[in-house]
């Protein structure tokens, strides 16, 4: 399947990215959908404005237990966040054919505010995090 069907229901459920994603400035609306068996840990994010564009999202806190993104207040305010607990943070995963090579981008997580349906990708200043953290450790 390509892009999600653009009916009213999906549009209501969509998250608005006022700035798009980095590298995809025209992708302003995404639908978050379940991945079979993925539960809350793995989701997919399908673009409504750009055909055939989708991303795999992972719950960064489940995969990386000490993950502590320091989200800039101004960027949270832009999402209409009044309390930090309002947001849901997900990381974009790069899942190549070889699963063991899968990585998550902890440097630029995506912050969702389910209350306002707004979201944005945030680049953290924390140098501990990069765009490529392995989801699974290398087999020796």
């Amino acid at each position: 399947m390509g892009g999600a069907p653009a009916n009213t229901q999906t549009e209501e459920k969509a998250f608005e990215f006022p700035h798009g994603l980095f590298g995809f400035p025209t992708a302003r609306r995404f639908l978050i959908t379940d991945v079979p068996g993925g539960g809350d840990l793995i989701k997919q994010m399908v673009a409504l404005d750009v055909p055939d564009l989708a991303f795999t999202l992972v719950d960064p806190f489940a995969f990386f237990h000490g993950y502590a993104p320091d989200l800039p207040e101004a960027e949270l305010a832009e999402l209409g966040v009044t309390q930090p607990e309002q947001v849901v943070v997900m990381a974009i995963a790069n899942v190549p054919a070889s699963i063991e090579e899968a990585t998550a981008n902890l440097k630029a997580p995506i912050v969702f505010n389910p209350h306002t349906r707004k979201a944005r990708q945030v680049i953290l200043s924390d140098d501990r995090y990069t765009t490529r953290h392995r989801l699974f450790q290398k087999r020796k």
């Binding site: 399947m1 390509g2 994603l21 980095f22 590298g23 995809f24 991945v35 079979p36 068996g37 993925g38 539960g39 840990l41 793995i42 997919q44 399908v46 055939d52 564009l53 989708a54 991303f55 795999t56 489940a62 995969f63 990386f64 237990h65 000490g66 993950y67 800039p72 207040e73 101004a74 960027e75 305010a77 832009e78 974009i92 995963a93 790069n94 899942v95 054919a97 699963i99 063991e100 899968a102 990585t103 981008n105 902890l106 440097k107 630029a108 990708q121 680049i123 501990r128 995090y129 990069t130 765009t131 490529r132 953290h133 392995r134 989801l135 699974f136 450790q137 087999r139």
Partner: protein
């Protein structure tokens, strides 16, 4: 591109609220290093360009025409979900080790 010459401790202003000041200059030629002080409103995001470029590249690399989760991924996640230290799921360190690109 607008090119301006500035001396140490001189600034440029961009728009209404952004000031970029030359804080330190050391070295010459290819070894020259300039430290900039940036004052900007909180809603203005400031990054090193290479960090921005890296995020753009990471997004492009992660983009798919459709998401298919490979069969081996989910069982591994379930292991990690149970909090088991065994199995394939990575035990994430508190400051995860980065996979550096070449």
């Amino acid at each position: 591109m607008l090119v301006l010459t500035r001396r140490l401790n001189e600034s440029i202003l961009i728009g209404d609220g952004i000031e970029v000041k030359i804080v330190q200059v050391r070295g010459t030629g290819d070894q020259a290093v300039v430290r900039l002080g940036i004052s900007a409103p909180r809603e203005v995001t400031v990054f090193r360009k290479e960090v921005y470029d890296e995020v753009v590249a990471a997004n492009r690399a992660a983009a798919r025409s459709q998401v298919t989760v490979p069969p081996g991924l989910l069982p591994a996640v379930r292991v990690s979900d149970r909090g088991s230290a065994e199995g394939e799921a990575a035990e994430a360190p508190s400051a995860p080790e980065a996979e550096r690109s070449e």
